[in-house]
């Protein structure tokens, strides 16, 4: 082997140069990849739709808000006597087997149900029954042309006290020459601990709703193994004995930190971590 002269030690050899170049390339690739990922996760490109700001998924900030919202939602469900889910598929196995049925508009902020006075709780054993019993109250708020992902969830204590209103909306539109799908989830807590209803303000900046998150996907990425929305399941519908007995409703909220449909070739499509099997009767 040829000895290395002292002059060679003052600079790179060809081998060292090549190795350095390879290392530099690897570092640059890592830097580019990491930077791009971080930018994608943290830069949170935003769009404005109907005066509200939506962040492109996956959005860590929205994920944090989603955790807060769903913790509050789970608690409201846990402490409720009755859960009313309006919207989604199969709101009634005979009268509305396919849906999507109407949800309540986002302006609905009633704190009690009008039908409670003199009503028979045996006749409120399903969300469909509740829709009929409270038809005069719900009527002005029922949405038209509902999206399959839209729903409204009311948690109720006793026969009348609404303790929370949770909404999900999906909008499809074109922004910046791109077809996008926007998801909006809001949760309004209603505090009855003082004997009268008080809308709980948002812990961040006050105002209503109490919690919310809004984000969007490119339309091509809005692909899910279980699409966001509500699916009602039924034990029976018995008009003779007045047994509209609804089982748990599968409710799937959009997840702001899931790369839904990003890889069209993927064998497994995305699943939201915010999925519930909500019993109407508690």
């Amino acid at each position: 082997m040829k000895p290395v002269s002292p002059s060679h030690r003052q600079g790179f050899s060809t081998v060292e140069g090549i190795v350095g170049l390879v290392l530099f390339t690897i570092m640059m690739a890592a830097l580019t990849y990491g930077g791009a990922s971080l930018f994608r996760f943290q830069a949170d490109p935003e769009v404005t739709f109907n005066g509200r700001t939506y962040t492109q998924a996956p959005s860590f900030n929205d994920f944090r808000q989603a955790i807060d919202l769903h913790a509050a939602f789970a608690q409201a469900v846990d402490q409720s006597d009755n859960v009313i889910v309006l919207g989604g598929q199969r709101s009634h196995p005979v009268l509305d087997p396919n849906g999507p049925s109407s949800a309540l508009s986002e302006t609905f902020a009633d704190t009690s149900l009008a039908a409670a006075v003199g009503s028979d709780p045996f006749q409120s054993a399903s969300s469909w029954d509740q829709r009929q019993l409270n038809s005069s109250q719900f009527g002005p708020y029922l949405t038209s042309g509902a999206d399959p992902a839209d729903f409204t969830i009311l948690t109720v204590q006793g026969l009348s006290r609404i303790t929370s209103i949770t909404q999900q909306r999906r909008h499809t539109t074109k922004l910046n020459s791109q077809n996008v799908v926007l998801y909006e989830v809001t949760h309004q807590t209603i505090d009855w601990s003082g004997g009268s209803p008080v809308l709980t303000p948002s812990p961040v900046g006050g105002g209503t709703p109490t919690y919310s998150y809004r984000f969007y996907y490119l339309a091509s990425e809005d692909s899910w193994a279980q699409p966001p929305g509500a699916t009602h399941y039924w034990f029976r519908s018995d008009t003779t004995w007045d047994r509209d007995q609804e089982g748990p409703t599968r409710v799937i909220f959009a997840d702001p930190y899931v790369l839904a449909g990003q890889d069209p070739q993927a064998q497994i499509t995305s699943v939201s971590r915010f999925a519930y099997f909500l019993a109407q009767q508690r």
């Binding site: 955790i67 196995p93 508690r282």
Partner: protein, 478 residues
């Protein structure tokens, strides 16, 4: 090539620094990415833990409820164990995540008694047993019904009920794998928990639900499907209860959405209270124990009894040659006539051991103190007792009819509660105000034209004399 080689040599230091800077920046970015994903994962894990502990605490609430019902449910048979033993047995059968154990903490209270008339001390005319409170919906001073779940409140708001109070049971949850709370926010944080389960117990008169098509899971069978009903059967405000199969092959009103075919159908837990009310309570009602307790109550002296040595009591036995004289009861051969206006005893019993008797029940035009009429056929299928209602009745009464052929003359309007046992047949037309229950698998509604109407005043009057169902609601907090 030589000049290039010299160029590289000359910039060796700068190139090294550049590579170092890029390396550091790249590592920082990768660490930031890692931390971001770690934060997401730990937040998600914490949320999952929160949800799973909600399920866990509600599971413990169910354990407490089932343990109480095992001991005190209105049923033909109950466990003789203590509540602590019942809870321990159920806890032992539960599976928890690795490293997690849940144990009882502190003493477990005893279950309060829920005696039904006649063994209870419910003064006639009161709306609730002495010393217990009528629950209110949003009460702040006594047990509030609101917040206990619609599955139980739907049964509690149908008429007068009594709160038997609340039992508190606490559990310790220990996670040996990640026991410490507060040090990090990831999975396992706060895994050591105290769960507090509050069980609210209610005593509900069986007569509170206007129509019950009952089943007998132990001594008989359960209804596969709800019975067909005649036109106008459900009158004004009538509430009804029937629990049937969820198998669409059995019940055409059922849907397969949630039905899982198994050899033995298992009903979802949301039917638990309804099963207590419409199945198990009727096993108790028609058990020899309860029927004999009514006979014993009827054996108490009646104001119409003749002086000694004449027999006493308000039990008339067709097979006996020496029956007491009972106010409101007029015998004639194998026929007795019950004049509801003249009955004095709180319980009158007619025993037909040979299936040869006829009982004519004449209604009372005037209101009055409620009473119980038991027609007990012990002939074992030799023959049905003929029971005929005549005239309107405005004095609330509970009619227990065993193995009887029941008829109605003149389409009367009757206030009261009519309990038909599985062997009863019925025909005729009647308008009923109060409660009506029958064995769903052999419904009499094919021949009986009956319209049942809700009557809060009749429910209130009959509540002290009615069998009372123990219903339990448990809520858990952590």
């Amino acid at each position: 090539m030589k000049p290039r080689s010299q160029s590289i040599r000359g910039e060796r230091g700068m190139a090294s620094v550049a590579v170092l800077i890029f390396s550091v920046v790249a590592v920082v970015i990768l660490i930031a990415n890692f931390n971001l994903n770690y934060a997401v994962n730990t937040s998600a894990d914490a949320f999952d833990t929160y949800n799973s502990e909600l399920v866990e605490k509600n599971g413990l609430a169910q354990v407490v409820k089932e343990s109480i019902l095992a001991i005190g449910e209105t049923a033909a048979t109950n466990s003789g164990n203590s509540l602590q033993t019942e809870i321990q047995n159920r806890l032992g059968g539960m599976s928890f995540p690795a490293g997690v154990s849940v144990t009882l903490a502190g003493p477990v209270p005893a279950i309060p008694a829920n005696p039904s008339f006649p063994s209870g001390t419910f003064p006639i005319g009161s709306r609730a047993p002495a010393g217990v409170a009528q629950p209110a919906y949003f009460s702040t001073t006594q047990t509030a019904v609101a917040g206990l779940g619609n599955l139980i409140t739907s049964l509690l708001v149908q008429g007068p009920v009594a709160s038997l109070g609340a039992l508190n049971v606490t559990f310790n949850r220990v996670n040996a794998v990640s026991p410490v709370s507060g040090e990090r926010e990831g999975a396992g944080a706060g895994d050591n928990q105290n769960y507090a389960v509050t069980a609210n117990l209610f005593s509900v008169p069986l007569t509170n639900i206007d129509v019950v098509a009952y089943g007998l899971p132990a001594s008989g069978t359960i209804p596969a499907a709800a019975p067909a009903v005649p036109p106008g059967f459900f009158g004004s405000g009538a509430s009804s209860l029937v629990v049937t199969s969820n198998n669409p092959a059995n019940d055409p009103t059922a849907y397969p959405d949630l039905y899982a075919a198994t050899s033995n159908e298992t009903l979802p837990y949301q039917y638990r209270n309804a099963v207590s009310f419409s199945w198990n309570a009727y096993e108790y009602l028609w058990s020899a124990g309860y029927q004999n307790s009514l006979l014993a109550a009827a054996a108490q002296p009646d104001p119409g009894n003749q002086p000694f040595p004449a027999p006493v009591g308000a039990v008339y036995d067709f097979s006996s040659a020496n029956n007491p004289t009972i106010d409101g009861v007029t015998p004639s051969g194998n026929t007795v006539t019950i004049n509801c206006a003249a009955v004095q005893s709180p319980v009158v019993a007619i025993v037909d051991a040979e299936g040869v008797g006829t009982v004519n029940i004449v209604g009372s035009a005037a209101a009055g103190t409620p009473f119980v009429l038991l027609v007990r056929n012990t002939a074992g299928g030799l023959g049905r007792t003929q029971v005929m209602f005549t005239g309107n009745n405005n004095r609330p009464a509970i009619f227990y009819l065993e193995d009887s052929s029941v008829g109605f003359t003149g389409g009367p309007q009757i206030q009261g509660a009519l309990f038909l046992d599985p062997a009863c047949q019925a025909a005729g037309n009647v308008t009923w105000f109060g409660h009506f229950s029958f064995y769903a698998p052999s419904s009499p509604l094919g021949t009986l034209g009956i319209s049942v109407n809700d009557s809060p005043s009749v429910k209130a009057a009959l509540a002290p004399l009615a069998p009372r169902v123990l219903l339990v609601s448990t809520t858990a907090s952590r």
